[in-house]
């Protein structure tokens, strides 16, 4: 049912240029469905979340059912339904970081910002997301910003400095 309605409805959320960027991936793969993940990444990057409407429009573009896009989207911890902060920071809680105080640093960062783990700060500038190993254990305890910056080895002071740096000097 939702497939039909989505075929009827006019795309309104994804801009023409975003649609083009998504469709540019199609020639890479033998099936259009393979573009679902790249498309979700583009949407998440732009909107900082993946609204249901976007899933419908991706489905339409790629000739799959909206439910299939939703199924994929919801499987991966990466995509969010509520907007994340402008910068998303993953703080590692896996073994090597944990052994060096990673769990406590996550608590510290969250309480400094007054948020729950996974949440965004009130001004929307930053989200702190507890993560499993980020593959930067040579920096343990480590954190990764979604712009690619790596932070570590962290301690209390450098965690505070990291938050300040990412938020561009905004005080907590």
């Amino acid at each position: 049912m939702s497939v039909e309605t989505s075929i009827e409805s006019k795309p309104t959320l994804l801009s023409e240029s975003l649609r083009e960027r998504i469709l540019a991936y199609v020639p890479r793969y033998p099936s259009k469905r393979a573009v679902v993940l790249p498309a979700l990444h583009l949407v998440q990057e732009l909107f900082r979340c993946v609204p249901y409407k976007a899933m419908e429009e991706i489905a339409q573009l790629l000739d799959v059912a909206p439910a299939e896009v939703h199924d994929t989207m919801s499987f991966y911890g990466f995509f969010t339904q509520a907007p994340t902060g402008e910068k998303r920071v993953w703080m590692c809680r896996s073994i090597s970081c944990m052994l060096r105080g990673g769990d406590e640093l996550i608590d510290r960062a969250c309480s400094k910002l007054g948020i729950e783990p996974g949440g965004a700060s009130a001004d929307g500038s930053i989200s702190i997301v507890p993560a499993e190993c980020l593959g930067i254990c040579d920096y343990a305890p480590a954190a990764l910003c979604d712009d690619g910056r790596i932070f570590g080895p962290l301690d209390d002071a450098s965690t505070d400095a990291m938050l300040a740096e990412i938020r561009g000097g905004k005080s907590t």
Partner: protein, 470 residues
């Protein structure tokens, strides 16, 4: 050993090692050119077979043999490069891609030529943001210079590499989970057979290889199978990138001959245990592999030797050192949380088993442990995984091994912890015991007690009738 010459990491300290110019100036793409213009694809397969190169992604499967499983009459072959690297404590693939992306591209060209794959998908975990950027630039450079694209070196061989980014799921490192994810679906591992070599991505015969495995190939082609086999220990040949992190002075990734002992890795390359302490234990190759006790640190880190101390295997050769100030329950808490979080949920023993183990360990840590919990946990651990044959993929074995090893090697400490840490607020409630033992529970009493369970005298909730409450 003393005259070991690193090859995989030889460019890491050279300025601009990620550029084509530097790579070529250091002899790069010579192997690819030689193979494509002078050798038959099957000859490349034979050389790799002869080298006995074993996959570096965790399973240690012989690479040449895997390539040999492709059906002879296939029309199209795909290559997937596994750069999902999510095994906790592992980061060598990241450095390989960041510091020397062309070495990997050359390995891909060789692997694809050997298997006649004309499209390669490089599946990289999203968190490798810098590596992704470096790779995209390197692939563009390689394409512009004719190392990729149509009719490479005039050999008639075509190859495109596409980088495909993951989205934060450990299970997508499992080769069929990776394939499902590449196809745009949730990363649920497939039941095998059919194996990817026969029916893989988009139903084409597919080879899945790890980044480091492919990085070995140009060197094998250049220096020969005998050179490769002159390094390492029996059945574990060649150089290997070892990671060491956790309670060491120097967290690092270092290239050594396969078979270095865990102790040497920690003391010589990791600068010793931090704060002048002693090691209590070490994770030998990513947390899925289990645990070495302090007495077992002289075990060589190769594909064969880790079985003796009861570990699952070499895994990713990533060592995490745990110092003697750390309770083993903290290690168990961390590993069980990881697997409960990352189980894809497809197989009941894995989905439920990892959840149970995590909850039990959490309770023990909080002060609600009972000695019999240890036996219970061991039972869970022995009942999930490919090893007992109850699950689709090896994640469940990885979840079981830390528990099996910790209980076998640190039972005394765990019992001591349970005795010394009792907190009634976290204790198991009689009703939970009754349910666990299959005794009948009076649902009406249960409903009345909602929210006040802890205060209720346990016997109110139990009846001894024979009919099932459900």
């Amino acid at each position: 050993m003393s005259n070991f010459e690193p090859v995989l990491s030889r460019n890491w300290n050279v300025a601009d090692s990620h550029t084509l110019k530097v790579y070529e100036s250091r002899g790069g793409y010579r192997s690819a050119r030689k193979a494509l213009t002078e050798l038959d694809p099957d000859k490349v397969v034979t050389i790799v077979k002869d080298s006995e190169l074993r996959g570096r992604g965790g399973a240690g499967f012989p690479c040449g043999m895997k390539w040999g499983f492709l059906p002879k009459d296939r029309k199209q072959t795909l290559m997937c490069i596994n750069a999902d690297e999510s095994e906790p404590a592992t980061f060598n693939n990241r450095i390989l891609m960041e510091k020397d992306p062309h070495q990997l591209i050359e390995g891909i060209v060789l692997g694809c030529f050997a298997t006649r794959a004309t499209t390669a998908y490089l599946y990289i975990r999203f968190e490798y943001i810098h590596a992704f950027r470096v790779l995209e630039a390197a692939i563009a450079e390689a394409r512009a210079a004719g190392h990729l694209g149509k009719n490479i070196y005039g050999s008639g061989f075509d190859l495109e590499i596409w980088v495909h980014r993951g989205a934060g799921a450990y299970i997508c490192g499992e080769e069929t989970g990776l394939i499902e994810s590449l196809e745009g679906k949730r990363g649920w591992p497939r039941i095998k057979p059919p194996f990817p070599a026969v029916d893989g991505a988009f139903h084409h015969p597919t080879v899945v290889n790890n980044v480091e495995t492919l990085c070995c190939v140009p060197h094998i082609i250049e220096r020969g199978a005998d050179w490769f086999k002159s390094i390492g220990t029996p059945k574990s040949y060649g150089p290997k990138l070892y990671c060491v992190s956790g309670h060491v002075n120097k967290q690092t990734c270092v290239e050594l001959p396969l078979g270095v002992t865990c102790r040497e890795l920690i003391d010589v390359h990791g600068g010793g245990v931090w704060k002048g302490r002693k090691a209590k234990a070490a994770v030998p190759g990513g947390i899925s592999m289990g645990l070495l006790s302090a007495a077992e640190l002289d075990t060589p880190l190769d594909f064969e030797s880790l079985r003796k101390p009861g570990c699952l295997g070499l895994g990713t050769a990533a060592v995490t050192v745990i110092d003697d100030h750390t309770p083993i329950i903290d290690y168990l808490y961390n590993t069980s949380r990881f697997f409960a979080h990352e189980s894809c949920g497809q197989c009941t023993p894995c989905r439920e088993g990892t959840g149970w183990m995590y909850k039990m360990i959490k309770r023990i840590k909080a002060g609600g442990g009972r000695i019999e919990d240890l036996d219970q946990m061991a039972t869970f651990a022995n009942n999930l995984g490919i090893m007992p044959g109850t699950t689709i993929c090896g994640l469940a074995d990885g979840a079981a091994w830390p528990v099996k090893n910790a209980i076998a090697k640190f039972r005394g400490e765990l019992e001591e912890y349970i005795r010394a840490n009792q907190n009634p607020a976290h204790a198991v409630k009689p009703i939970q015991t009754a349910i666990a033992q299959g005794r009948v529970v009076d649902l009406a009493a249960l409903a009345l007690s909602a929210g006040t369970v802890p205060a209720l005298p346990s016997n109110d909730l139990l009846s001894d009738g024979s009919s099932h409450a459900r």
